[in-house]
């Protein structure tokens, strides 16, 4: 059931991403809402499957953005390293949490985990983009704006869900 729920939200987030958030750029940076839904996939899911889900999610975004491979590579890598990143903040005995969120492992740990994951994903994404057009100032602005937007929206969604 958890999986159906996760995939349902993944599809909603993809539609929102390509139809709404991609159009709302601030200084070139956009909110990447799909990475928030990916961050909330169950932790006990098969890790290879997580990588495949990340790749396919990224590929859908790529098709709509005409950036073949960019989101796919970044999201597959983020999904592969998601569990090790979460392990940095959570002890081994508390790891059986199902879907990570505000209940378990709690807001403090969850907010650190998504910040690290988002930073990794967004850095990778815009560094890949910089291969086709390198503008240090633009790159820095995009990474900063995108990280702030994604993080604020994700935390708001997380807190809003509990209420």
């Amino acid at each position: 059931m958890t999986y159906v729920y996760s995939f349902f939200w993944l599809i909603i987030s993809l539609l929102l991403q390509v139809l709404v958030f991609n159009r709302l750029s601030i200084w070139g940076g956009v909110a990447l809402v799909y990475i928030y839904v990916l961050a909330k996939f169950p932790v006990d899911m098969n890790r290879s499957l997580q990588v495949i889900v990340g790749f396919l999610t990224g590929l859908v975004v790529d098709i709509f953005c005409n950036t073949p491979g960019m989101h796919a590579l970044a999201a597959a890598t983020a999904m592969w390293l998601r569990i090790p990143i979460l392990r940095m903040f959570v002890d081994a005995q508390d790891f059986n949490m199902g879907v990570p969120g505000i209940q378990r492992p709690g807001l403090a740990v969850f907010s650190k985990y998504i910040l690290a994951l988002f930073l990794f994903h967004i850095l990778l994404l815009y560094l890949i983009e910089a291969f086709s057009l390198f503008q240090p100032g633009v790159l820095f602005t995009k990474i900063t704006v995108s990280l702030i937007l994604t993080y604020v929206i994700s935390l708001s969604l997380e807190v809003f869900q509990r209420n």
Binding site: V18, L19, N22, S25, G28, G29, V30, R47, S48, Q50, V51, I52, F55, G58, D62, I63, F64, C65, N66, T67, P68, G69, M70, A72, L73, A76, T77, W80, I128, E129, A130, F131, S132, L133, Q135, G137, V138, K142
Partner: protein
């Protein structure tokens, strides 16, 4: 053998990632937009129709501005028309037979269903495809100025390389001069592009209008592009480099013209000989 299986099992996530990473990198390295599969872009049937159905609602935003710009442009064209008519009368007085010219270009309206301005390489999706006789390499403009060039077509949609894409370089000139240069986007702002390769001898002032040169065949000569805002200093001293403010408002693109060059095939055949 057993230990190999155990190795694969233990590292299956890494191996999956490795395979998919290689697939992604192969996709990333297909840099030429003309060679890409239409299925890997927003002009395929599925993403095209998703964009189109949403656009049915959002295209109403910004209509007022578009309408005013159209009227302004119509006024300019009316003035131009008057001037040309007056010249034609003078000309006909001189040489008796009336001039019979066949227009080389014709314009078909298309609607923007997908557009981006924030990426390093931006593309535009139009709701006209090969069934509407849109072909690769046709120019696209709106009522303000140049928009881009068609890179790929499916049956109902086409993918346009936006002027906001460093892979597009168009041949332009200053309105009051015949020397030409090339215009390319530098990725900084969706309102500006860089004009380079103009010889140093060209007379110019800030505020000069930049128009298409007509050499590529995708655009007729004299289509508005933008105005010069500042001169940039570059190491290469033989050529001038300018920053150009683009006339086209890429943040608010709705209806555009696809420019059909009726002599394109003839020119192509001649150049290939």
């Amino acid at each position: 053998m057993n230990s190999l299986f155990r190795f694969l099992q233990r590292n299956s996530a890494f191996l999956t990632w490795l395979i998919l990473a290689v697939v992604s990198i192969v996709m990333l390295c297909q840099g030429n937009p003309y060679h890409r599969s239409i299925w890997m872009g927003s002009a395929n049937r599925v993403s095209g129709s998703v964009f189109q159905s949403v656009n049915a609602f959002t295209s109403y935003f910004g209509l007022r501005e578009a309408n005013e710009a159209l009227l302004r442009r119509m006024g300019d064209m009316e003035a131009e028309n008057q001037r040309l008519r007056a010249m034609l009368v003078q000309y006909e007085d001189l040489h008796n037979p009336s001039i019979d010219t066949i227009p080389q270009y014709h314009f078909e309206i298309a609607h923007v269903v997908g557009n981006s301005i924030a990426q390093a390489e931006n593309y535009i999706t139009l709701d006209k495809g090969s069934l509407d006789s849109v072909k690769v390499n046709l120019g696209v403009a709106d009522h303000n100025g140049v928009v881009g060039i068609v890179a790929a077509v499916s049956e109902h949609y086409s993918l346009v390389i936006s002027l906001l894409n460093p892979k597009l370089r168009i041949s332009v000139k200053l309105k009051n001069s015949d020397s030409f240069g090339s215009l390319v986007w530098d990725g900084e702002s969706y309102e500006y592009a860089i004009l380079s390769d103009l010889p140093r001898s060209v007379q110019f002032t800030a505020g000069d209008t930049v128009v298409t040169s007509g050499y590529s065949g995708s655009f007729p000569k004299g289509l508005p592009v933008g105005i010069i805002t500042e001169t940039l200093e570059r190491e290469d001293d033989n050529f001038l480099v300018f920053r150009v403010k683009l006339f086209t408002d890429f943040n608010n693109l709705n209806s555009v013209f696809v420019i059909h060059n009726d002599r394109q095939d003839e020119i192509q055949k001649l150049e290939n000989q």
